[in-house]
């Protein structure tokens, strides 16, 4: 039995604590139930794709940092891989290992923020968020050690990584890898079995498997729907084929699955980092490429499994120093496609957590 009331429209965002940036949802409500939802984007559109056409290949790396600012390392990596594919540059082995370590650390950091803010949206008053930020700080410390910045790294370069790691990095990484599983257990203990969270998130915002594939969802959103699709396994890049790790998948594709999946992926990332740090070879870390690189005319699409999904860079070169076309396949923008279907029929409170469980970053959505 439903009591119908006058539908009214509210704007969730662009300034709203739970839209993770300047995202706006025009939500039509019937009482508390969402009847219609329309995402409104573009508040953070900076035209990076156009800006990149006027800069050299190397100069574009700092721009990729600013796409998904919560996962800059993987953005660097995807871009560098696209350019390497375009120009046919080989990467030293040590650099490949460092890239793997960095991108897995970045995956953990990004998932920490994603899960933390998801739980915050559920109404847990900042506690899980701060616990997760505590570990994220450690990862940022590690990043600061290798490249001197905590947010916009500009570390992974065309042909390798910019610098070799300092000597204190490996012991610190080792300590982090040893401690991290314990912390992940703590997150599990904190809220994974919490009855209220189960009631809030389980069965809420289901994205069915077929719809997930059809809407080109990627990353944890796709895998939570039960599709075992991870580019690290499906199309192994870098040296991912040398490590043992599992691809966790969800069963129903609800918010709870997406949350659990991120936690499980953190465990897998720790596993990968451990193996990579053990196997880390000696040697060069950067193939010298000319500063004003002129790749042969052509096109290349480099894609990686970013923390938020398939991050791809499509580059067209006309044999000049600047890319002719620079296109970003932004995972979070495309993950938002199914947002309306996931939200309709749920309550306002669910809208917020469904949105949170997709884990978007507006820097990347709007570019």
């Amino acid at each position: 039995m439903a009591i119908r009331t006058e539908p009214f429209v509210i704007n969730v965002g662009p300034q709203h604590p739970s839209t993770h940036g300047v995202f706006r949802m025009r939500v039509t409500l019937d009482g508390e139930v969402i009847v219609d939802m329309e995402p409104v984007l573009g508040y953070l559109h900076r035209g990076i794709e156009k800006l990149a056409e006027g800069r050299t290949y190397t100069q574009n790396i700092p721009f990729t940092d600013r796409l998904d600012y919560l996962a800059s390392m993987t953005n660097n990596l995807a871009y560098a891989m696209a350019v390497e594919k375009l120009a046919g540059i080989a990467v030293p082995e040590r650099a490949e290992y460092l890239r793997v370590i960095m991108s897995e650390l970045q995956r953990i950091a990004s998932h920490l923020v994603g899960v933390g803010s998801f739980l915050n949206d559920c109404g847990a008053f900042m506690t899980p968020f701060l616990y997760m930020f505590r570990e994220r700080e450690k990862i940022l410390d590690l990043f600061e050690m290798v490249c001197g910045q905590r947010l916009t790294y500009n570390y992974i370069r065309i042909g390798g990584v910019s610098y070799d790691i300092p000597e204190e990095f490996l012991p610190a990484l080792d300590k982090f890898v040893r401690e991290m599983p314990g912390f992940i257990d703590e997150y599990d203990q904190l809220l994974a079995e919490n009855e209220i969270l189960l009631a809030r998130a389980k069965g809420v915002g289901i994205l069915p498997k077929e719809l997930a594939i059809n809407t080109s969802a990627s990353g944890p959103v796709l895998r939570a729907s039960g599709v075992k699709w991870d580019i690290r396994k499906a199309d192994p890049y870098s040296v991912y084929d040398r490590f043992e790790f599992d691809i966790p998948t969800g069963s129903t594709g609800d918010c709870y699955d997406r949350y659990r999946l991120r936690i499980q992926e953190m465990r897998q990332s720790v596993r990968i980092i451990k193996q990579a740090a053990e196997q880390l070879p000696q040697g060069e870390v950067l193939t010298r490429v000319p500063l004003r690189l002129r790749p042969p005319a052509g096109e290349a699409y480099g894609h990686i499994e970013g923390p938020k999904g398939e991050l791809g860079f499509y580059l067209v070169s006309d044999n000049s120093v600047t890319p002719y076309r620079f296109h970003v396949r932004a995972p979070t923008l495309i993950n938002l496609t199914a947002l309306r279907d996931m939200m309709i029929g749920w309550k306002v409170a669910d809208a917020v957590i469904i949105f949170g469980s997709i884990d978007i970053c507006l820097g990347e959505v709007d570019r």
Partner: protein, 374 residues
Amino acid sequence: MVGFNPDHGLFSYGLGALPPDWPGNYWLHWGLFVIIIIVFVLAMVMAFIYFERRGLGRLQVRLGPNRVGPFGILQPVADAIKILLKEDIVPAKGDKLVHWWAPVVAFAPALMIFAVIPFENGALLADLNIGILYIVAVSSVSVVGVFMAAWSCNNKFSLIGAMRTVAQIVSYEIPLGFSIIGVALIAGSLSMNEIVTSQNIPFILLQPLGFLIYFISACAEMNRTPFDLMEAESEIVDGYHIEYSGMKFAMFYLAEYVEALAISAIITTLFLSGWKGPLLPPFLWFLIKVVLIFFAIVWVRGTIPRIRVDQLMAFAWKCLLPLALINLFITGIEVIVLPQPLPWLIVFLNLAIMAILVLLWSKFFKLGGGRVEV
């Protein structure tokens, strides 16, 4: 209740704590006591704000406010000064008069509750013989304040908040009332002071289920996590006080903490034998228990996520209310069948009953689901 004749009225029982040879007439005592209570409440609220912020900080492995004064003890003062200096904004299309009065209406009932809280034996403003009923009645008035605030803002978020408020407060008042009646049955009185004096062992042991129900529904009444739906920051951006700033917001903020203090004091009085306790002076015992209860509230806030609105209603009507009714029923039988209560027997009996009921309800009660076809 101005202008009431003390000689035959409700207030003639009160002020037992004052020495009989205290100079001055009744009204002087009364006025003095009112001032003492207000000062006490405001001081406690300051302390609570500090306590909550520091406590939450420690639960979240950070320090909490520690800059203003030693250990940040003056942080509430700094907050107050900051908030008083803020610009006072009234929405242009709002109802100005109602916007002005809403914080007052929300604040006054919270303060009025303290008229019947016994701080020590007999040390209460008015030992009403309907003490508990008075509390339930007065605290239901604060809904009107929330309503006024929500309406006068002319904001859709605050309107949603108001709708949630009605649903929440009206629903949770029922299990709240029923769990209180269990206590009143055992104590045989509605007067707060008599309830304390009749507690040879704390009623939390005799009424464990009642305590649980009261604690949960009191959390909902004063809209604390996990029931802070009406001001849910991550959903409806603080609900009814979305458009409030400056002094008027301070009043709401204060009302929230006064209510938290009042609830802690009521729980202390009803279930934790109030000011009673060995060795230490009664007032200190009272304070300790109040702070303990408040810590529990803060602790819950620091851990648990928020519940959803339909689950909130389901929880009140399908879980708390039946449990409260069963509890009342069992208590009634116990009071009749065991006229000379064997306290410890009843303690174990009630604990066992509570455990069985909670387990049973865990099996029956379903929280979740909630998609509506549109």
